[in-house]
């Protein structure tokens, strides 16, 4: 147990520089959009601003440049990130893709769906805590009702009877990263995590929060590093990881398969979807 508290303290220590770094990069990021806008308008390098001015706003309007301002993310570590992205891609192909194939082959789709549903249902604390921290009390109530209906009426959430109730169907997902965003903490830098893929400094902290709030991990966190052996405690988190692999691989393929530059495609999809998630 003593060991346990010290690891927690270490974790907090490790996290605190990330937080301070975020606020520093925030100032840098504030100056970024201007630089971006400059490069966007002065795209033809040699001809420069004169040409842009001559063409005038009508032509620029024609291209509808809302896409120039669409969400992108500060990426100072691009070299390192691209390297990690490359290694991840190989690991996905070598390890995860065969696992996903095997999983999908062995279990029929209704069974997979049931497993996914049950694990998503168990993630209820992640959603309700983050709804509350963001002041979305009505949503927290809806989440609670949904959890109750699916747990009781859906055999610990394997089935989703709440889908039949319009006010409970299709509630947007909530996570710790979104709470931090709501509190005004910016992404910080974009980072590609080993195995986990696209993330940012802020959302890495968010991931740690989600992990701690997910009951599936609680026995594991509780006994982590202790002498007493309970081998079964790794089973729920391991099963949870396993069941997400096929979906994650599928998402990864959708984003990268027909991309011109898979790295940029994944980065853009990440920053756009996080921006949208924070809004809802």
């Amino acid at each position: 147990m003593k060991y346990h508290t010290s690891t927690l303290r270490l974790l907090l220590l490790a996290v605190s520089p990330l937080l301070t770094d975020c606020s520093m990069t925030a100032a840098k990021k504030a100056s970024q959009p201007m630089a971006l806008a400059e490069t966007a308008t002065a795209a033809p390098k040699g001809k420069g601003a004169a040409a842009a001015a001559k063409v005038g706003p009508t032509k620029a309007e024609e291209e509808v440049d809302e896409y120039a301002a669409s969400a992108d993310i500060y990426d100072p570590l691009q070299g390192l990130n691209r390297a990690t992205f490359f290694i991840n891609d190989k690991l996905y192909t070598l390890i995860f893709r065969p696992i996903a194939k095997g999983y999908n082959f062995i279990l029929p789709r209704p069974v997979r769906k049931g497993i996914d549903n049950a694990f998503e249902n168990a993630k209820y604390p992640v959603r309700v805590v983050n709804c509350t921290l963001q002041g979305k009390f009505k949503r927290a109530g809806q989440e609670t009702a949904k959890f109750a209906v699916n747990t009781v009426g859906g055999v610990v959430g394997i089935f989703r009877p709440a889908e039949k109730i319009p006010s409970l169907a299709n509630l947007p997902d909530e996570d710790t990263g979104q709470t931090l965003a709501k509190w005004g903490i910016p992404h910080g830098a974009y980072i590609v995590l080993p195995l986990l893929g696209p993330c940012s400094l802020r959302d890495t902290v968010g991931l740690a929060g989600d992990y701690a709030l997910n009951p599936v991990n609680w026995p594991y966190l509780y006994w982590f590093g202790s002498r007493s052996k309970h081998d079964w405690i790794v089973a729920p988190p391991a099963a949870n990881t396993l069941r997400t692999i096929p979906t994650q691989i599928d998402k990864y393929d959708t984003i990268t398969k027909d991309a011109v530059d898979p790295y940029l495609s994944a980065r853009s999809a990440y920053s756009q979807s996080r921006e949208e998630a924070a809004k809802r």
Binding site: A43, P44, D65, D72, N170, D258, D261, S265
Partner: protein, 192 residues
């Protein structure tokens, strides 16, 4: 008397024409989606899908507009031949990518929501899609290009065109129109 009559007519007509545009675009989208689904159903074979969907999609999607937006301001530096080549390559890529999302026999349940008009001649139609038991928020962006055509699809907040814009823009910065075209050629020829 006549002036007042005309004025009241004008006041009535302005919101009416806007909502008529919305309704027009939305009904066009509905018929386009229905047509795509019926063609996909008849095809059955997944590898034949890109070819059978191509004509239908060309009818309802403005690939020229899509390509122009995906390239961004650099589009002005493309010669007409380069523009045509880029459009051809980009549409092949989009059609292929779109077709790969279909599982024959699976039908999405689509709920159309109230369309909005972000600018004159443009309409966004938000929809909610249930496909294989999962919910997706999909927004179809439409523009008046010889009738209402789809110009972008935003899935769960991720715009298809904005996504390509980040990639193609960096190619353009690196080597102009030729770099954009060669990168597109490379992606199209990548084995599936």
């Amino acid at each position: 008397m006549t002036l007042r009559f005309l004025l009241s007519l004008l006041i009535l007509a302005v919101p009416f024409s806007a909502s008529a545009q919305l309704a027009d675009a939305q009904s066009k989208l509905k018929s386009a989606v229905a047509e795509v689904l019926s063609v996909a159903d008849r095809t059955g074979n997944r590898s034949a899908l890109p070819n059978s969907l191509r004509p239908v999609l060309h009818k309802h999607v403005s690939f020229e507009t899509m390509t122009k937006r995906a390239v961004g301001p650099g589009w002005r530096q493309f010669s007409p031949a380069q523009q045509q080549q880029a459009t051809e390559l980009f549409s092949t890529l989009i059609i292929r990518s779109y077709s790969s999302k279909f599982t024959p026999g699976e039908h999405p349940a689509i709920t159309y929501q109230q369309a909005v008009q972000p600018a004159e001649g443009r309409v966004d139609v938000p929809t909610n899609m249930v496909y294989k038991g999962s919910h997706y928020n999909v927004v179809y962006r439409m523009e008046q290009v010889q009738g209402w055509r789809i110009t972008d699809v935003v899935i769960e907040g991720v715009s298809l065109i904005a996504n390509y814009r980040s990639q193609l823009d960096s190619q353009f910065q690196r080597g102009g129109a030729e770099a954009v075209i060669s990168s597109l050629t490379q992606s199209v020829s990548r084995p599936q």
